[in-house]
């Protein structure tokens, strides 16, 4: 049995009087791709932010490679190097070229010599298919290209886990594919990934597990086929119906919960 790379144990988070995450537990094995879906305001982003410590949890524990990263004496900066994060709106460093965006973590955080860092950064840019855009500034790249640079920037730190928070939802439809393609390739290469996304085609093909969250709890989880075709809860089925319709990519016979296929 593979060891868990990430163990989320009974975590809770509240903002003021609002409980955002309620006693969430979730284990992720090395190489797994987990897709998280759920309605807006459910706490999906908060969950990801808790994992890379951008937000502190109130109760519970998070273990990365068996080590508790939520205790006081753990260095946040150290943990974040091992947890890559990709944001909905890319958040590239505006004043740096694509290459420098990918390099800066290597030179300033990992203190790698410049020539070595440059080589590694170019390698990551090649990995996302953007070696020829190395000297472009974010403002000179399309949204899809910016997001791929952002992925390369996270990959450069050699993370143990990659977190994606709706990486394609700020993109024009025709640019979504190139980003999903990169993510698919990463999954194939064995990267451990947690993705909040409503791209159901991607989820069905790539995810080992889909997690349906609502109101700060995990309502249901399971392999794509199970969740799609045999959801245990009516809420899961309703939600899946809604987003497949919304994203309008699937033929009628593929609609979730329809057992006739």
């Amino acid at each position: 049995m593979d060891k868990y790379i990430l163990e989320i144990q009974n975590i809770s988070k509240r903002y003021g009087g609002n409980v955002i995450l309620k006693d969430i537990s979730l284990n992720v094995r090395e190489g797994d791709t987990v897709v998280i879906i759920g309605p807006s305001g459910t706490g999906k982003s908060t969950l990801l932010r808790c994992i890379n410590l951008l937000t502190r949890i109130d109760t519970g524990k998070i273990l990365l490679d068996g080590k508790d990263i939520t205790t006081k004496n753990v260095s946040e900066d150290e943990v974040r190097q091992h947890v890559g994060m990709v944001f909905q709106n890319f958040l590239l460093f505006n004043h740096l070229t694509a290459l420098d965006n990918v390099m800066i973590g290597l030179t300033k955080v990992r203190k790698m010599p410049a020539n070595q860092a440059k080589e590694k950064a170019m390698q990551e840019l090649r990995r996302v298919g953007l070696a020829d855009r190395a000297s472009h500034y974010p403002g000179q790249l399309s949204g899809g290209q910016q997001q791929r640079v952002a992925i390369a920037r996270a990959l450069a730190m050699d993370p143990r886990v990659m977190l994606f928070d709706e990486p394609t939802s700020a993109l024009d439809p025709e640019l979504i594919g190139e980003v999903l393609e990169v993510m698919r390739k990463l999954a194939e290469e064995g990267m451990t990934m947690l993705c909040v996304t409503h791209e159901m085609g991607f989820a069905r093909e790539v995810a080992d597990r889909i997690i349906f969250m609502e109101h700060g709890v995990i309502v249901e989880e399971g392999p794509p086929a199970e969740l799609f075709y045999r959801p245990k809860f009516e809420r899961t089925r309703e939600f899946l119906w809604k987003i497949t319709e919304l994203y309008g990519k699937h033929k009628d016979e593929e609609k979730p919960g329809d057992t006739s296929t």
């Binding site: 890559g84 958040l91 460093f93 004043h95 800066i104 300033k108 974010p138 403002g139």
Partner: protein
């Protein structure tokens, strides 16, 4: 006789420029430090910096100049030139604090989040991500502040420093050609301000980030 007026006043130009070159960078160093404390320094320091800026901007520069002059000259023995220039630098720091604070906020917390997400400490994020963008943003407002300081350097004439304004008063009094003297001074100030603004426009264009348009309301 008449040609001696511009020559005499022009001889004060070096002092005017010197006062500006002391006050402006000093205001920048103080303003930058205080702005960083204001934005990232925590509640207590932030409140102190807010108070500092409010006070500095709430008093006429000439009054502040006298107050600071008498404080400074009570502590150490400085020439009026140095005391006046340093005092002007302090006056300017209040304004520069606000300019830089605005830029830091307008670069925004999301750039900070992105930097933290790759494992940068706050200090590194400020140094490598926030400041390089914020300093570009301040150039237009800073250009304006540079002309304010250049013009306010005339205030040190009240301390007897022989810069352009003081020399105009002197030559006006001795020749009874006050209007001509002050018109000459006005022209020199105008040219200096004009050149300063052009220079900073150039710096702004040179440091502009390709493809990036920042719709700030600075």
């Amino acid at each position: 006789m008449l040609s001696q007026i511009p020559t005499y006043i022009l001889s004060g130009m070096a002092i005017t420029i010197a006062v500006t070159l002391v006050a402006l960078p000093m205001g920048f160093v103080l303003g930058l430090t205080f702005a960083l404390l204001r934005v990232y320094g925590g509640k207590f320091l932030s409140a102190i910096m807010a108070a500092y800026s409010t006070i500095m901007r709430g008093v006429p520069p000439l009054v502040l100049l006298f107050v600071l002059y008498f404080i400074i000259s009570g502590v150490i023995n400085l020439t009026p030139f140095w005391a006046g220039s340093l005092a002007l630098g302090v006056v300017s720091s209040g304004y520069q604090l606000e300019i830089i604070r605005g830029a830091l906020c307008s670069v925004g917390s999301t750039q900070m989040t992105a930097a933290r997400a790759i494992g940068m400490s706050r200090a590194k994020a400020v140094r490598y991500i926030i400041l390089p963008q914020a300093l570009r943003l301040i150039i237009p407002s800073w250009s304006n502040e540079a002309s304010v300081v250049l013009k306010d350097s005339s205030l040190v004439s009240a301390l007897g420093v022989a810069e352009i304004t003081r020399k105009s008063q002197l030559i006006g009094a001795s020749t009874y050609k006050f209007l001509l003297a002050f018109l000459t001074a006005a022209l020199i100030y105008f040219i200096l301000v004009f050149l300063t603004n052009r220079l900073l426009d150039y710096v702004e264009r040179k440091t502009r980030i390709p493809g990036f348009s920042h719709h700030s309301t600075l």
